[in-house]
């Protein structure tokens, strides 16, 4: 975690130990401070590591609770006997049998099948069940109908097939290895931290070398100068920051987990905030991954059905008697049933036995008509012909629920054009009309329109069999087809789609206003993809693709000016023929892009293309086919409920509610944490100078050391920790969701302005304030500032026990040392008091503190209280513990630095005022961090 940082601390620790080694070799009684410091540094690294590990492990635990790993079984024919064996024992050449509801145990070539349909959505993104038979239909194994893939589910029917690939050699296995082959990119925050470490190291080494040269020219021994050099470098290491950053990130991670964004990798917390492109999968992410009735057509009219998650209000006109007939067909010509034992589950959430479109129809009719099973019971089914791919229709014959009507009712549904062929009349307003040219035309227009929406259209028709020809005792025979299947009455059309989640359009709009480009990348068909893209706003209402323009102007596609089109739909086939440059061009030129029919490899290429544009790319997905792209992305976001394990493993973040809208929350939190980390770092860096200056003055002017190593540690790892974490709770200064995503290379976490302002402005002011307290303490005890200059050698000489002060008093070494510790405590208190001011000014970067509200962030006050309490405990509680070198400080010294603290506040308010007054001015450019 935060690699560069730990390295900095490790280097610091080793330098400390080296320094001690040097001191020890020349003086056996050298102080152990350096050893302690080194050990503390290592301890910080280890503790932070353990903390981060614990945090991430907690997320992983939540993850693993999703996988209920049931060992998969397979029915295999071996030695001409059916056996059930664990799926991993299958070998190539085994003949396996799979029935509806089972998972496919390996890649299987179909030998024979009966009405088999599989759910390939996790592999290809197709929401609809795919029929499987023994015919070879396509060169591409993913497209051909005679291969079932490992880990997909057989929804219905049975299939017998031969195993052709197992384990890693399956298509899923290939994708998995593709995913594991993708290197883990550095997260943007890791890059930022590294950049920050470079700055800190640069500053440390340059100050170190500068003062090394000064020390040598001041005739210090070279060895001592080396110790100084190391001391300066180590003093620059912000010991507390690694822990603070980790805690801050995990606080945000926790906050995000509450909003259903589970972060697996702490560093990924910020990534969403800097995201500039989201490549979203369609199925299950933008859509509900559930076929739902979207439109109806009857009485020559198209009606819109409610496709929201709960189907709450179906507002279309249900008074027409055509609807009565249509609803009867929908209810009766349907083999899907609810699984038993779900009485208390809302209808839309009930599990259904049957394929996706039948389930959609079942739920649709259950919502509108009430108990479907009861209706079916009243209209007893006499005989039925299930759907098959040659007939392309489904038929059943029922008794009617009207006891006076002895006729049988034949109901039929299927592909609209096949249904229409079988009809001679059409029902309009409950009356049968002959089907003529003009009604056929309206039918076709409606069919085309619904098909154009990317919806799956079904036609419905019925026929009341005359009672004289088909008496109650008539025996129907499906093989002989001893009943009419033509001259039926056409009733209506129903179209279904996997509808978008209701929260998605809003979320897409929010992403847009936050300057994030949303690209759809799906394995599904372009028409469906485009329709969903339009309905969620990925393609906005008023933008057109080249094809749309061509269609509108009625000109060939080639003549359309490419620039006029804002949106584009690119299919996998087109992508195959494209060079990388062409892809880059598309990504750069179009605002609204949909990629359809893409393979996992192509998803990867698209993500890489986006990354070549210097974008921070987020990929959302749920299927196995998404996992390589999830891994490749700067941040992979998997769906928690619908997502496959492969996707969740590859992702950095999991949306527990599968809701795309949660991403917006994530973006907001990510941006906020970036801003707040800036504040935290600025806060922490400031006192570095106040801690370093004493050492530099000590070397140059020979003052008794104003602040000791241990004391510094108590600031860095004691009083300053809670305040710097408290900054993570700071609210945003302006609407961060209306701002463009930060530029990866321009908007740095720690920029020059931040470093300069912290080091050379506030840091220096702080140092001066702390020196004032230090000088006051010494002066009031008898050592006036001028007497301190160049006193160092005598002061630290153990054999000088009668050092004279300004007033002629003589001090023993220990008395001096005790005074030195009082000096440390005074300097410590000086820094502490001014850090309170520093903490308050860091609440905002542009706004006045009074605009932000001094008391809105309560945690800041907890931080300030903690600072003061820790300070009091150190000075008054532990003042007698020699090793800590704190002493009881007179109460008034706490107030010496207060004017400086106020000055810091006023100065920063002035800075912010000028920034607000003169945006873009010299001041703004140099002072805004």
């Amino acid at each position: 975690m935060v690699g560069g940082f730990s390295i900095l601390l490790w280097v610091g620790a080793f330098l400390c130990w080296i320094a001690y080694g040097i001191q020890y070799s020349s003086d056996k009684s050298a102080s152990l401070n350096n050893v302690y410091l080194g050990s503390v540094l290592v301890l910080v690294v280890i503790l932070t590591g353990v903390f981060a590990y614990y945090q991430e492990a907690k997320s992983t635990n939540i993850m693993s609770s999703f996988n209920n790993m049931i060992p998969q079984q397979a029915v295999v024919i071996r030695d001409s006997e059916k056996k059930t064996i664990p799926a991993e024992q299958l070998v190539v050449g085994d003949i396996v049998e799979v029935k509806g509801g089972d998972q496919i145990p390996a890649d299987v070539r179909v030998l024979s099948s009966q009405g088999c349909r599989v759910d390939n959505s996790s592999l290809t993104g197709e929401s609809e069940p795919q029929p499987r038979s023994s015919e070879f239909t396509h060169e591409n194994p993913l497209e051909t109908k005679n291969i079932c893939f490992y880990s997909t589910t057989c929804l219905e029917g049975t299939v017998t097939g031969m195993v052709i690939n197992t384990g890693d050699r399956t298509i899923i296995g290939h994708i998995a290895s593709l995913a594991s082959g993708v290197g883990n990119e550095k997260t943007p925050i890791a890059i930022e931290i590294e950049h920050f470490v470079h700055i800190v190291a640069g500053v440390a080494v340059s100050i170190g070398i500068l003062f090394f040269i000064i020390a040598v020219s001041l005739k210090y021994r070279v060895l001592d100068s080396v110790i100084f050099l190391i001391g300066i470098i180590v003093a620059n290491v912000p010991e507390g920051l690694l822990g603070t950053v980790t805690v801050t990130l995990s606080l945000t991670a926790k906050r995000m987990a509450k909003k259903n964004c589970l972060v697996k990798n702490l560093e990924a917390v910020e990534t969403l905030g800097s995201t500039s492109i989201i490549c979203s999968d369609k199925t299950g992410t933008l859509t509900q991954n559930r076929m739902t009735v979207a439109h109806l057509w009857f009485d020559n009219q198209i009606f819109v059905a409610d496709t929201s998650e709960d189907h709450s209000n179906q507002v279309f006109d249900q008074s027409s008697s055509t609807w009565a007939s249509l609803s009867k067909i929908i209810t009766l010509c349907n083999r899907a049933e609810f699984k038993p034992g779900q009485e208390n589950v809302p209808i839309m959430k009930k599990a259904v036995i049957g394929d996706a479109s039948e389930a959609a129809l079942l739920k649709f009719s259950e919502v509108i008509l009430g108990d479907v099973m009861e209706i079916r019971k009243r209209n007893r089914k006499v005989v039925e012909i299930p759907f098959n791919s040659t007939n392309k229709f489904q038929l059943s014959i029922h008794e009617t629920d009207d006891p006076h009507d002895k006729r049988f009712l034949m109901v039929m549904k299927g592909a609209p054009e096949r249904i229409l062929e079988k009809c001679s009349t059409i029902m309009i307003n409950g009356e049968e009309h002959p089907l003529d040219e003009s009604t056929a035309k309206t039918f076709h227009t409606a069919y085309m329109e619904l098909g154009g929406l990317g919806e799956r259209v079904l036609g419905f028709c019925h026929l009341y069999l005359p009672a004289d020809e088909f008496p109650e005792t008539y025996s129907f025979d499906i093989d002989a087809m001893n009943f009419p299947t033509s001259n039926l009455c056409f009733v209506g059309l129903l179209s279904m789609i996997d509808p978008p989640r209701s929260t998605v359009p809003d979320a897409v709009t929010k992403c847009r206003s936050a300057g994030i480009k949303v690209i759809m990348v799906t394995g599904d068909h372009p028409i469906t993809a485009k329709a969903i893209a339009k309905s969620v706003g990925i393609i906005s209402a008023n933008s057109e693709t080249v094809e749309d323009i061509a269609h509108r102007l009625n000109i060939p596609v080639e003549q359309v000016n490419q620039r006029d089109a804002k949106a584009t739909v690119v299919t996998g086939m087109e992508l195959n023929d494209m060079s990388l440059e062409q892809l880059d061009e598309i990504l750069a030129n179009y605002q609204e892009i949909v990629f359809a029919r893409t393979s996992p490899q192509q998803k990867l290429i698209i993500v890489e293309g986006c990354q070549r544009q210097d974008a921070v790319v987020a990929v959302t997905g749920d299927g196995v086919n998404d996992s390589p792209a999830l891994k490749k992305a700067d941040i992979g976001i998997a769906m928690g409920i619908a997502g496959s394990d492969a996707a969740k493993n590859a992702a950095d973040m999991v949306l527990l509610d599968d809701n795309f809208a949660s991403i917006v929350t994530g973006v907001e939190e990510g941006r906020l944490i970036f801003d707040n980390l800036k504040k935290t770092i600025a806060y922490t860096l400031t006192k570095n100078i106040a801690e370093l200056c004493p050492f530099l003055i000590y070397i140059i002017a020979g003052l008794p050391l104003p602040i000791g190593t241990i004391t510094i540690l108590f600031i860095d790892l004691g009083t300053d920790i809670i305040p710097s974490i408290a900054l993570a709770y700071e609210k945003a200064e302006s609407d961060i969701m209306n701002r463009k995503p930060r530029h990866k290379k321009k908007d740095r976490l720690v920029n020059k302005q931040l470093a300069v302002y912290s080091y050379l402005h506030i840091g220096l002011m702080q140092a001066l304030g702390a020196f004032l307290v230090y000088f006051t303490v010494y002066a009031q005890e008898g050592f006036l500032p001028h007497t301190l200059i160049n006193l160092r050698v005598e002061w630290e000489n153990d054999n000088v026990n009668d050092l004279e002060d300004h007033y002629g008093q003589e001090w023993t070494r220990y008395q001096r040392e005790y005074l030195e510790w009082t000096g440390y405590t005074a300097f410590f208190v000086g820094i502490l008091v001014q850090q309170i001011a520093d903490l308050i000014i860091r609440k905002t970067r542009r706004n006045s503190i009074f605009q932000q509200g001094l008391f809105r962030n309560k945690v800041i006050w907890v931080g300030i209280a903690s600072q003061i309490i820790i300070g009091l405990i150190l000075s008054y509680g532990l003042g007698s513990v020699t090793a800590l070198s704190f002493t009881m400080l007179r109460a008034q010294y706490w107030f010496v630095a207060v004017p400086h603290a106020i000055l810091i506040w006023v100065y920063d308010e002035v800075r912010k005022l000028f920034i607000r007054l003169y945006p873009g001015s010299w001041w703004d450019k140099n002072m805004y961090y």
Partner: protein
């Protein structure tokens, strides 16, 4: 490899551009005007800070009394120190036959005794013995400290302070602390580690420090103040070639003056070692 070289070249070029950019006239990333502005800003800013710091320090210094420090809590009890100052930590090593080995000690002692010469002391007051000499000011006088008190260890009787004879003189003095008023009869007590071989004499007798030298009023007021001290003469047994004596002194007789402290080895006590070669 070629990529690396290229990036190295690029890196160099970027640095060159950073150091001096011909087209924009930027030097180290800033134009002359920009440098001027920023330097001016820092000049003003730091000028202001320096002035502010000087002012606050000046104010702070003005709250101080020039004669007495505000607080004396860090030196409540005096330390004991010895003269001459040994080269290494409180170990005197010299050879009786080699005057150069102890010339440093003698010079040190002489320097220390300089204010005690009769000439220097002739303007000082003779104070009544045995009581604190408290003064109200505005003029504070210093009491005489007759060198005669030190008898054999005053340079009047032996300018060599006995080093050549194997009877080296060491002076033990109490640190000056303003306003310190010991009670009782403070005396500097000797604890000799290997008593049988040596003889030790303390001047004045028993190391008594007269109360009239207290309290001290600080360099500014108490001009010419002579701090009382005790001379110790160690007579090393003449028979052996190399002699070693470890002596420890501590303040006794005044409960206010501490002589035991775990951390401060010089608070009211001092220990030193004398090694004399033939």
């Amino acid at each position: 490899m070629t990529k690396d070289e290229k990036s190295l070249n690029q890196c160099l070029a970027e640095w060159k551009l950073f150091i001096y950019n011909l087209t924009t006239g930027e030097f180290l990333g800033r134009t002359a005007k920009s440098w001027g502005l920023i330097l001016l800003f820092y000049l003003v800013f730091y000028g202001f800070l320096a002035a502010l710091f000087s002012f606050t320090t000046w104010v702070m210094l003005h709250t101080l009394n020039d004669e007495v420090p505000k607080y004396r809590d860090h030196i409540s009890s005096p330390g004991l120190t010895v003269f001459p100052k040994p080269v290494t930590a409180l170990e005197y090593t010299f050879s009786m036959s080699d005057p150069t080995s102890y010339a440093g000690y003698i010079a040190d002692l002489k320097k220390f005794l300089k204010p005690y010469t009769l000439e220097e002391q002739k303007n000082l007051t003779t104070c009544p013995d045995g009581a604190l000499f408290e003064q109200e000011g505005p003029v504070y006088v210093a009491c005489q400290f007759p060198l005669l008190l030190l008898q054999a260890c005053s340079d009047m009787s032996d300018p060599g302070f006995g080093y050549s004879k194997g009877k080296p003189c060491i002076r033990v003095k109490m640190n000056r602390i303003i306003g310190l008023k010991p009670e009782g009869v403070p005396w500097i007590d000797c604890v000799l580690k290997n008593e049988d071989q040596t003889n030790i004499t303390t001047y004045p007798y028993d190391g008594i420090t007269d109360l009239k030298y207290f309290p001290y009023y600080g360099t500014k007021l108490h001009v010419g103040y002579l701090q009382p001290s005790v001379a110790v003469q160690v007579t090393l047994a003449p028979n052996s070639a190399e002699k070693e004596v470890t002596a420890e002194y501590e303040i006794d007789g005044s409960p206010k003056l501490k002589s035991q402290d775990d951390r401060d080895k010089f608070l009211g006590q001092v220990m030193f070692k004398i090694t004399a070669h033939a």
